[in-house]
Structures are given as structure tokens and as C-alpha cells.
Homo-oligomer: 384 residues x 2
Amino acid sequence: MSQTTIQDVARAAGVSVSTVSRSFTRPDLVSATTRAKVLAVAKKLDFRLSRSAAALKSGRSFRIALLLPSPITNWFNVTVLSGLNSALQPAGYDISIFTIATWEQRRSFFTSMPVRRNADAVILCSFNAVPDEITELRGVGVPVVGINTSLKAGLDADVSLDDIRSEELAVEHLIGLGHRRLAYFYTSHDTPFDYSADDRHIGFDNAILAARDKGLDVSSSTIACPYEEDPVNAALAKLLALSPQPTALVFQTDDLAMPVMLHLARYNKRVPQNYSVVGFDDSTYAADAGLTTMHQDPADLGRRAARLTLALMEEREGSGTGPEPTHGRGRASSLPEHGHTSLQGRGHATGAQETSGGTDGSGAFQSLVARLVLRESTAPVRAD
Amino acid sequence: MSQTTIQDVARAAGVSVSTVSRSFTRPDLVSATTRAKVLAVAKKLDFRLSRSAAALKSGRSFRIALLLPSPITNWFNVTVLSGLNSALQPAGYDISIFTIATWEQRRSFFTSMPVRRNADAVILCSFNAVPDEITELRGVGVPVVGINTSLKAGLDADVSLDDIRSEELAVEHLIGLGHRRLAYFYTSHDTPFDYSADDRHIGFDNAILAARDKGLDVSSSTIACPYEEDPVNAALAKLLALSPQPTALVFQTDDLAMPVMLHLARYNKRVPQNYSVVGFDDSTYAADAGLTTMHQDPADLGRRAARLTLALMEEREGSGTGPEPTHGRGRASSLPEHGHTSLQGRGHATGAQETSGGTDGSGAFQSLVARLVLRESTAPVRAD
DNA sequence: AAAATCTTTGCTAACGTTTTCATAGAGAAA
DNA sequence: TTTCTCTATGAAAACGTTAGCAAAGATTTT
């Protein structure tokens, strides 16, 4: 009934519990022969460290809280989660997912603060936290890391897409194709929790203004599509009501662009003959739908954020212990359950070039730019 | 630096630590006045129970392992996860996600068995475990619950979609529309980890045979689309090579059906004029794409599985303690962190009717049937 | 009024690790 | 050889809860 404990292993291997413990968590402190013996015995007894006990004694919880402003089922959210989990799970950490999509949930979360004492780090994903909330989160005494946050003040690290610059690139592409009447579609929310809408909008406007500065006669419309009440039909209705009609449509997300494109056929509008369309994200079906879009790699964001988080936790762990003011990497002391950890992996920026960053490549504040992917949904404006 | 402990609260409230502990986890054992006092003090001190300590002493880990045969980013997987988390997180449980997509990962998982001693339950989602592996999992001594499993022997509970019956309904619809030449498309994998392909295929064949038994002259083809090497193009190529051409296409998943539909236009094939198309899942863009499909609700599967899991854990907890052979629900003793638990909620089977089940509605083995959703991609066969 | 039962509380011993401190050898420096 | 520095190990004290047992009142039954 009761599971094998470290005691059993110690007894069977003829060593002390300390040695068994060290064989797993601090291999460098145990002689190779002893360790081999311990590991062999442990394997035979089918022993595994109890995360709970380790957590209690070491003061860590081996849980990392992930705060989301929107359902986990969103393409972006789940892809980030996937990246996070691929790096965090092998390092022995679980992810506690908190979806905070309503004011009620938000109030409940920040008053009850279930994270306090039960998470070793907090990761904000696209979460538009206000300064007070960040202060509150800092109060739990663990690293706070952001992914795609607008407000970075108070965070210990952050990796974000440069939405402004990325959306500028999208618009520049369309203007380069000769388009002069553009429309920007974005999903508006009752709750201002979700981040990214604002910056992409800014990027859109920036690019329009820049074109005008160059003397081009560019006009633009901005179309809000309320998330809570059929954004797709709102987009279609508002689009068709525009006069004169735009020739190029810029969407805040593929998730909005694709259904609109799919419905356009019913109104006898074709892409790219009637409209050139640019999305954002390069999400699941974008390639199949032939949608020109800005490619980003949320799994990479997740992996990067995970690495930063692991490094921060180590650092904090190391500094708290001894009176050593060394600023280098602390000693690794995570549970090497299965899989490898390798925090300082080569920063492979798949599909998005790094634009800025901290001092070095593994800076605590990283910014990436999306990459334009050309497909069939954009074409030069028709001569008429 | 150090957080408030149960001791501090006990001291400040003038009661024993036991009473504080009970105020949180066994409220029924504490007088209302005492509990109110304790809770007030706890709130003032900003105290929260340490999951780690509770876990160690109580022998639970407050973690539930989720085994997936495919990336969490899959529509089905993430929607199940969403349902699971919505029920499990408020009950104080975190979900440890294990993605097991290769033989290597599978071997690694089942040999190192990181779940042992570190999870209070194991949930298999679409995971095609073999009997030996189920035995292995049972060996960790916690409930093993399945979602969409083919092999239910050895599981403590399971909630699955009746893929056979559901796919039969899809085919019956097409035959009812007059179609007589049908093709079934499915995604084939190098690894046989993922479940559902087989049963849907059986359902397809069943319906074809049933139609023939009724004297209808129905013919069918079966088309494998290798996941690892561009399944969409494989589907298109093999479809166009068929002669005579089928009039109705049945896809194992929307994820396969939709890209194929999107590409069909390039070959001057229209839906439903040239082909009637039926998908399966009713996933994200199906409605926008006008795809007739079998609607299922994986979030509901997740919630159901979560409820069953919670009930099983309670039961096991209850029976282990005293020598009481009572088989009824044990007493609830989860951490009431934030949110409500209400395990025996009304079984709202959104979008899928329950067909069978255990003895009662909350039976440990539940089977649901998907619901046909009619959209523009199917039409009566053309008279020719 | 005594006895029996129920309710509420406190005391205390774990739960299974990690980590500090101490110690015994093994080499290295003297 | 003696002393010093490392390295490898063990002993033992926590970490912050939970839960079994006991006891003191409160309430009910006899």
C-alpha cells in the first residue's frame, strides 16, 4: 500500500538518507560509485522522490502559475502553454492554469490570491495587469514573468512580440502593393484584460501616417468587432457598409480574418480580386486558407519565458542561501525527473527575428518581430 | 520573507493549530463562531494553506496526470483540458500534462513512471494504452480514468464518445441524401497511440453494410492520409485519382476536412456541387466554413471526467481510513481554495445526448453520441 | 440526578524529504 | 611526519500541515 520511501532505499543501499537524497538532487556531491549503487537500488525498488515532501522541506512548491485573460482554447494561449510545458515539465514543474476572463474572476483571484505560498513563479500571458496588481503579485515573493505584456514595469522578465513593428510590416506590404484604402479590423472586448489589440492598432496607424508623410494618399478605416456579439458578422456588415470600399483589409488576428474570408464568398466578394487580406498569427488553417499573415511562434515565446523563469528561480534560490554576492548562475537543483533541462540552450528564434533584448542574448526582456508570410490573399491593387 | 503559517494564525486567533486546519479543510467539525474568528484572522494575516505541507501529511499530491498521445495544441486535446481544468482547478488540483507522441517518450514514461507518488489520479485522453500499460498505471495506486479510450478494461471510469454510432449517423445522413459512392478519409499515424480513427472507420463501414443489407447499391473507398507527410495533399491526390469519383466524402476529423475543402477550389471542385462533405468534431471554424459535421463537446467530456475523478479520489480516501464498508460518497475533504466544487452537478449534456452509462446518470462508464449539424457542405445527390 | 451521547477543541506524533553541521579519510603542502 | 585542505558521508533538525486520540462541556436520554 505505502510507497517506497527514501528510507527504504537508504537501508537497502547501505547508505544514509542524505546520500540518497543527494544522489538525486545534488549528484555532484556524491561519489560516482555510491551514486551508481544508490540509483541501481532505487530503480530496483521502483522509487521516486515525493514532490510533496521535497516541496515542503525546500520551501518550493514545484508549481508555476499561468494567468490567462482568455480561454486556454485560444490558439495563441494553448500554443504558449505547449511551449511552456515542454520546458517546465521536464524540469519538474507543473503549471497551474488560471483563466481570468471576467471582472468577478479577476476580483476573486486578486483578493484570494491562491498563488501565494503555492507557486514558485507567476507567468502572465497576454495579461493586461495594472500596476497595483503587479505589485500585489510581486508581494507573493516569486518571480513574475510576462509574455506579450504591454506594461513591463515591475516584471522580472518578459518576452513579447513587437506588435507595433510587426503590424507596420503588414501594412507596409499592402501599401507597397499599391493599396491606398485600407481597413483595420479588431476584436473589441467588454473587458480590457487581453493585450495585443492596442499595439497592433498603433502599428497600423503608424504605417498609414508614415505613408502619408511620404506623400502617398492613403486613407484608412478602423472597425471594431465586439467579441461578445458575433464579431464576424459585425465585421462583414461594417465592411460592406463602407463607402468607398477599401481594397485592403488588415485583421488583428487570423481568427477573425479567416471566418470573414470564408463568408465573403456569399456576398460575391473574392479574395484577392476584391480585397487583399492580411491576418496576424499564422495560426492553424492560415496556410490552407491561403491567408497572407504575420507569422509568429508562440511556442517559442513559451519556451523562452520558461527558460527565463527557471533561471530567475535558480537565481533567487541561490542568493537567498549564502552570503555570496555572486551574480552568476546558481547551482542547478531541480528534480531531474525525466528528460533534460539545459536552460541556456541556443536561442533558436524559429520564424521570428529577435530585434532587441537585454544586454546579452538571454536578456530578461526580449522583443521579437513577426515575419510576413506571403500567400494568395494579397495581390497588387487592380488598375482601374 | 517567510510566509504566514498556520501557527501564526492559531496564535493570533487564540486557538490550536488543529482548529485552524479544520476551519479550512473540515469546516463541519468546527463551531460556526470559532470558524468565523479563525477565518477573519487568517484573512487579516493574508494566510493561505501550503499545498505542499498538506500534501505531504495527507498523502495526496493535489496533482492529476493527463496523458496525451498528441500535442496539447490539438483542438480536441485543449478543449478537453479546458473542461478538466475548469472543474479540477477550483477543487485544488493541478494538472500535470504528459505528451507522449513517440515510442521513445512512451518508453521513457512507462519506465520512469514519473506519476508514481506524484499524482492522485491519472487521466488518459484518447490514449490507446495496452493492457500491460494499464496494469502498470494501476500499480501506482490511484484512480485511472479514460476519455475516449478504446480499451476500457482496467480503468476505474471512462467517458467516451461513441465513435462508431456517431459516424454511422454521418453516413446515414449522406445515404439518405441519395449518395451511393462514398469515400472515407482518415489520418494515419506512424505511431498507433491515438484513439478514435479505428472506431469511426468501423462506424463508416457499418453504415455502408447496413445500407447494402437494405438493398441499396452503395460503394465505398477508404483513404489513408499519413500524418507525418502532408495528409492534406495525400487526401487530395488520392481523391482525384478515384474512378469513378465518389459523390460524398466522409472525414475522420474537421481538421482534415477543412483544409481539403479549402484546397478543392484549386482543382475546380465545388462543395456541395461536386462532393458533399461531412466532417467530425464541429471544431473551431467548421461553422464559418459551412461544414456539415458531427458535433461533439470535448469540454463536457473533460468536465465529466473531472467529476468522476474527484468522486473516485474521495471514495478511495474514505475507504482507506476506517473499517467502514460503506460504499456511498466519502466526505469531501479537498482544499476549498476559490470557487465551488459541486461534484454531482446536473449532467448537462450540451450538444451530445447520453446514450448509455452505468447504473445511474453519474455512472463511472459513460458513452455519448455526437449530433449531426447540417450546414452547406452537404446536399442531395444530383440527378444525372 | 445520573448516565450516555454528541460536539468542539487541544495535544501530539507523524508525513518524507532537504540541509546544516560535524566527522572521517584522502591527498597535498609544509 | 605533521598540518592543511578537500571530498564524501552521516546524524539530526526542521518544513507546515493533518489526523488520531483524549478530554471537557453541552445536550440528551434514562
